[in-house]
């Protein structure tokens, strides 16, 4: 009896090793950074509003057993194309954001369909394939935005097009839609500003995902995620289900990128999407999710912990070592080091689970 209690506590520790490690590290970096609690709370609220939606987009492929969708950068690019168009047409405010989302939908569906088809040919290696796919589509994106836009695709605004007559400028000022969603309903608690409308949208999609899991399609996806062969035998169209999950993920990633950029206010045409996949996945892993299992609380815990580290570690490193530059390297070292550790821990944990399952089997027989 005693041993099982001890064991389950140990299992819990193993299951939440990554978040616990992060909380432990934060306990040191927060006072070291010297930031005021107000600033940190405000920063976390902003980052929750800004990044949660992008991380949400990762959930559905995980349900369908396709691992972490590094291909979400495809959706991010679709969202950015929508933003380029509305900036050119000068559509501002919430209508501008909504229109950018609508423009991104067909592009996202198309890209998600391509990605789904390719991943169906690379079953079991979805993560690495989607990662490389992101680079490939990035090349096409650059070709379209740098060479086609302005001539083949008419863009009239001289603030967008390079003076040579084609190609979009490096950085686009999104002044028209900047923080339009965040400021739609804004609440002040103390000195902390809370973008209520953004959180309403995020929670709406959380409910969507909860509801979606219970639908026929959601159940099918879970079945596919558990075991493709069994699902196939049960009459579930495995390939089609996987493609649909990719499409949903890509569309949501497009929306997420638009929400992200309306908060940031500037679009780095050729680089803004680079890190979306990496950071969202890192946040999800840090929240205690794994390649095969993720829940909604994982998202919020992960976003807070990851970004807490992001905000505090440069300053903490600077105060600890005394050089500004080393603070920056400290941040990189800590942030990416933890991502690597969490992936290693996942592999180790899976190994342990298998071992335990084997032990149980032996004990029963």
């Amino acid at each position: 009896m005693k041993t099982t209690g001890k064991r389950s506590f140990k299992n819990l520790l193993i299951a939440y090793a990554v978040p616990i490690m992060f909380i432990g590290l934060s306990i040191f970096t927060i006072p070291l950074s010297g930031f005021s609690p107000e600033y940190l709370v405000q920063e976390m609220v902003i980052r929750l509003a800004r990044n949660s939606f992008l991380v949400l987009a990762l959930l559905i492929p995980i349900i369908a057993g396709m691992g972490l969708n590094f291909g979400m950068v495809l959706g991010a690019m679709a969202g950015q194309i929508g933003l380029i168009f509305i900036t050119d047409w000068n559509i501002v405010g919430i209508p501008g954001m909504a229109l950018a989302m609508i423009i991104s939908i067909p592009i996202s569906i198309f890209l998600g369909w391509i990605a789904g088809n390719i991943l169906n040919r690379a079953k079991g290696r979805e993560m690495v394939t989607s990662y490389i796919l992101g680079f490939f589509i990035n090349g096409i994106y650059q070709f379209i935005v740098l060479y086609m836009m302005g001539k083949a695709i008419p863009i009239g605004n001289p603030a967008l097009v390079l003076s040579r007559g084609y190609g979009i400028r490096n950085a686009i000022n999104l002044e028209g839609i900047r923080q339009s969603l965040d400021n739609l309903i804004s609440l002040n608690i103390g000195k902390v500003q809370i973008p209520v409308a953004t959180f309403i949208l995020i929670s709406a999609f959380c409910f969507f995902i909860i509801w979606f899991r219970k639908t026929k399609l959601g159940q099918d996806m879970r079945a596919v995620g558990q075991d493709m062969e069994v699902a196939e035998a049960a009459g579930i169209p495995v390939n089609k289900t996987r493609i649909i999950s990719m499409i949903i993920s890509t569309v949501l990633a497009g929306f997420g990128q638009i929400i992200f950029l309306q908060n940031i206010g500037t679009l780095n045409t050729y680089n803004s999407h680079d890190q979306t996949g990496m950071y969202s996945i890192a946040a999800l892993l840090i929240g205690g999710a794994t390649v095969s299992h993720a829940t909604i609380p994982n998202i919020f815990l992960g976003v807070v912990l990851f970004h807490l580290m992001f905000v505090t570690s440069p300053m903490a490193g600077k105060n600890l070592i005394g050089s500004a530059m080393l603070g920056e390297y400290f941040r990189l070292f800590i942030s990416y080091g933890i991502i690597a550790i969490s992936l290693v821990l996942y592999a180790w944990r899976r190994h342990k689970e298998k071992e335990r399952a084997r032990m149980n089997l032996r004990g029963n027989s």
């Binding site: 047409w89 559509i91 919430i94 909504a98 609508i102």
Partner: protein, 126 residues
């Protein structure tokens, strides 16, 4: 069955296009250039006003326009409301309110002189 599905899909796409068109119109941003400059209307010379406060769409803070000056207001959508206060010696001498609609052009020129004189063409796209 398949036919019905196709129809539903088609309706959905059309609805989305319709929504986009509405969003395009109500979200379109414009520049409103407000001129307080000497003008000749029907052969009569109208001088620039000493100082004008313009409240666009119920803004609390006015746009202040001096004599012979042009200021810019950023507006979005087709329907607008403007309140003009003409000041003389620091006191409001005349107040004027107008509702107006704008088309889809990027930039409009509003002449205070024409609006006060009651001319029709006080708002012109440019």
């Amino acid at each position: 069955m398949k036919r019905k599905r196709l129809i539903v899909q088609l309706i959905l796409i059309l609805a989305l296009v319709g929504v986009s068109a509405v969003l395009f119109v109500i979200g379109k941003g414009h520049q409103l250039l407000i001129d307080n400059k000497r003008a000749t209307i029907d052969g009569v010379r109208v001088e620039a006003y000493e100082w004008v406060n313009v409240y666009v769409n119920g803004a609390k803070k006015p746009i202040e326009i001096e004599e012979e000056d042009r200021q810019l207001a950023k507006i979005a959508g087709p329907w607008h409301h403007i309140r003009i206060e003409i000041l003389e010696d620091g006191k409001v001498a005349k107040t004027l309110e107008k509702r107006f609609t704008v088309g889809l052009q990027n930039s409009f020129l509003l002449s205070l002189q024409k609006i006060v004189e009651g001319k029709e063409d006080w708002l012109t796209p440019r």
